[in-house]
Symmetry: C2
């Protein structure tokens, strides 16, 4: 409840929205400063039977050093959240707080799934037909080996299939040419591995010009290129806003609206939200977590790695 | 004269425009099928004293294999063009023909400047204030070492300084974080080298979101990231066109309009144009070549490499 620039009010609003629009909502465990959170929950008249509030006396600030803060602030909302998740008392953990602390907790408290070399985070890539593509990795893994890209492809494919309900998602490699054999050393080596992987529906390369076309559902790259793509795309949102372009399609390049993204490849559902997440974003994150639990996504991922990697 | 989708008419139109708007135009050596070219030149009533026409009986098609075509079609306009340039009969060579053949000719006929490890091509990155940034490399060098990025920085800096008349161009490293120490192995290693290089005005990192802001005049990266950026930016032009956005600023993401880009780091001025170059593009390319000659850019580049690398 303490994560994000407008904590805890926007989180509380998101909860209200989620509870209101779901006939059978998940039971929510809210972690944060009891007094501050209660003010918001009461003000919004959220049904107390829909949540359990757990007091956290500390908050990890947005600018604190992640590892240090997580180690020292054991009574922070993020530290408690990871403790509850790791010990099985909750089924998923969502926060719009310190991104670094969320990553450190994901990797060291929840830990990678056996066989997953590098957990990864992705990003939505909007298309004009209303669909979204999923680009992965977008910054967690700046240097990758070919096998990492194959694992991103499997992780992204399972996520898109089960959480977005896309049958046999089309997977592509972000590259600088259309044909096999094009690219840098990494993509040249990754292409045949992706082609041979029977866990994904690999359709070949996509180029920079294809990212916002509906060519592939999942697009894999190392986190350097992915991060540049994501931030460049965000800058187009800013450009269209500054130029007074009135077209709701370009609002989709405002990545804050999507809520958050899961850390894929770790043992439990963790969703990291944008610092300036609002009501809609929090509601979306809760729904995503619920979907990940109800579709048993983590077990599906585990079974894809344990048997083969 | 035979390069580009509308050869030789658009090239001829560009020549007319160039000759008309220059009080003291350079003497142009036109290479192509004499009959076809003459029809265009006569139709446009271009002053015959402004050019010398050299017949080429062959044309390298856009889809031919570059090395093979250059070797076999010795009487093609591209092969003759490189021969004239290499032998000093011309001072610069411009073509909108087969890009691969232009690259092969640049690297093997004109050759890299002594000390330049990897010649490179860049691209214009438009800004709202009317300025342009220069991104380099955009695809010629998909895998780079840190020293390559430093050389791109020097080459790009000299180009922008002398051809665009920018004093002490600001040079930045394309990266995925603002502070020194961020990035992948390549950018982490390149940063201190760029910082220590006394031939450039290094200002630090730029991120994807900064590419179209007026932060740096020259932005360096390996050709994989650069190519993805370029093609992604081009796709935004397409998007804004399809969405009927009426704003001349977004037309600047139509990279065809710029004419062409020089191959930097080779011994003579070579400018490679876009296949669908039109009148304006050809005129711009001639002016760029003239500027490169008149400012003695190549000697300036050579003196920066011979003494130190």
């Amino acid at each position: 409840m303490m994560g994000g620039d407008f904590a805890p009010l926007e989180a509380a609003k998101g909860i209200k929205k989620y509870v209101k629009h779901n006939a059978n909502p998940a039971h929510l465990v809210l972690i944060g400063n009891e007094e501050q959170v209660n003010i918001c929950l009461n003000e919004l008249q959220i049904d107390p039977s829909s949540y359990t509030l757990i007091h956290a006396s500390q908050v990890i600030d947005m600018h604190e050093h992640p590892t240090k803060a997580l180690k020292e602030k054991t009574d922070s909302s993020i530290a408690i959240g990871f403790h509850l998740l790791a010990s099985g008392k909750t089924d998923a953990f969502i926060s719009a707080g310190n991104t670094g602390a969320m990553m450190v907790g994901s990797l060291f408290s929840i830990k990678p799934i056996e066989g997953v070399l590098r957990p990864s985070i992705g990003a939505y890539m909007p298309r004009e037909n209303g669909h979204n593509g999923w680009l992965m990795d977008v910054g967690l893994n700046a240097d990758c080996k070919p096998e990492n890209l194959v694992q991103f492809a499997i992780l992204g494919s399972l996520f898109v299939q089960h959480v977005w309900n896309v049958d046999s998602p089309k997977v592509a490699l972000v590259n600088i040419g259309e044909e096999e054999g094009k690219g840098n050393l990494l993509t040249q080596a990754a292409y045949p591995l992706l082609k041979d992987c029977d866990k994904i529906n690999f359709i070949g390369n996509v180029e920079g010009r294809d990212i916002f076309l509906d060519k592939a559902d999942v697009m894999v790259c190392e986190g350097f290129t992915g991060n540049v793509i994501l931030k460049l795309a965000e800058s187009f949102y800013d450009l269209t806003k500054r130029r007074n372009v009135e077209d709701p399609f370009f609002d989709k390049f405002n990545f804050e609206q999507y809520g958050g993204v899961p850390v894929l490849g770790i043992n439990k559902p963790v969703i990291i939200g944008h610092g300036i997440s609002g009501e809609e974003a929090f509601c979306n994150m809760i729904q995503m977590a619920e979907k990940m639990i109800r579709t048993d996504l983590l077990e599906k991922i585990k079974s894809n790695f344990v048997t083969s990697m």
